[in-house]
């Protein structure tokens, strides 16, 4: 057995020994992934998984290193990128991925990606036009 495998076994015994906790928290993550567009909060997550809010928050942070809210935001931003790339308007995208305010969507999107949603969409459309296999080659006049 390699050194690396031995280390992983050690980590498994130290960190991942509690299968009940791990099953709960994996279920919460999956639930967020499948319902990111809904109005999710700690109350609804804890009710759905029969654990207290405090316990859920602690477990999620322990096993994923971020809070459920941060994870939900990351998923929503990733999904919004796909929708913007596919041509959905910024406003429609905002509500389609579960944000309730255009302002918070735009500021979070910019904080996570470095550019505003509208600028992101323009950039993607531009690059798609440049590399699309059916696009006409640009000619210099």
């Amino acid at each position: 057995m390699t050194f690396y495998k031995k280390e992983l076994e050690k980590i498994r015994r130290l960190v991942y020994a509690n299968n009940v906790q791990i099953d709960i928290i994996k279920g919460v993550r999956k639930f967020i992934e499948n319902n990111y567009q809904d109005n999710l909060n700690l109350d609804s997550l804890s009710n759905n998984h029969f654990v207290s809010k405090h316990h859920l928050l602690r477990l999620f942070k322990k096993y994923y290193g971020i809070t459920p809210r941060q994870y939900l935001t990351d998923i929503r931003i990733e999904k919004s990128k796909e929708k913007l790339k596919n041509g959905m308007s910024v406003t429609q995208t905002c509500f389609a991925v579960g944000f309730e305010s255009l302002g918070s969507f735009s500021s979070l999107f910019k904080a996570k990606t470095g550019i505003a949603p509208s600028a992101f969409q323009k950039k993607k459309q531009l690059s798609r036009n440049c590399i699309h296999p059916n696009s006409r080659p640009l000619t210099l006049k």
């Binding site: 390699t2 050194f3 495998k5 992983l8 498994r12 991942y16 791990i22 928290i25 993550r29 690059s127």
Partner: protein, 131 residues
């Protein structure tokens, strides 16, 4: 400040480029001759072409400590770096069919599933799937 380039030391850049593009599915982004047959050679993920570039750099051929470090990690089974995948089992089967050798089969580690393969250029690389 942005993290834009991640280096992977390789013994043979041409062989590495073939492996990373033809088997793993990355796309060549920059290929600039830098003298002595060496290249500034970078690749990007097919689905994230404006994401970080992987630099396939020939450090082990020119700097002995780099070679020693790379060999030590390889022998210990430690991955040089890791790539996220949607499904480790599917990638494992796909790469096995392409002749890629794994030192660790898909293994659950709590909230992730991992597998480790040999990139044929001196490194172990880990595949990771969030669970």
């Amino acid at each position: 400040m942005k993290a834009t380039v991640i280096s992977i030391p390789v013994r043979d850049q041409a062989k590495a480029l073939a492996f990373y593009t033809e088997k793993l599915g990355f796309i060549k982004k920059r290929d600039i001759p830098v003298g002595g047959g060496n290249r500034w050679l970078t690749i990007v993920s097919k689905d994230w072409q404006d994401g970080p570039e992987l630099s396939l750099e020939p450090g082990p051929n020119h700097f002995e400590p780099c070679k020693v470090f790379q060999e030590a990690l390889k022998d210990a089974g430690i991955p040089w770096t890791q790539f996220d995948v949607q499904n480790v089992d599917t990638e494992y089967e796909r790469l096995k069919d392409l002749g890629v050798e794994f030192s660790m089969q898909p293994t659950e580690m709590g909230t992730v599933k991992v597998a480790v393969f040999d990139d044929t250029c001196g490194n172990n690389i880990q595949l990771v799937q969030g669970l």
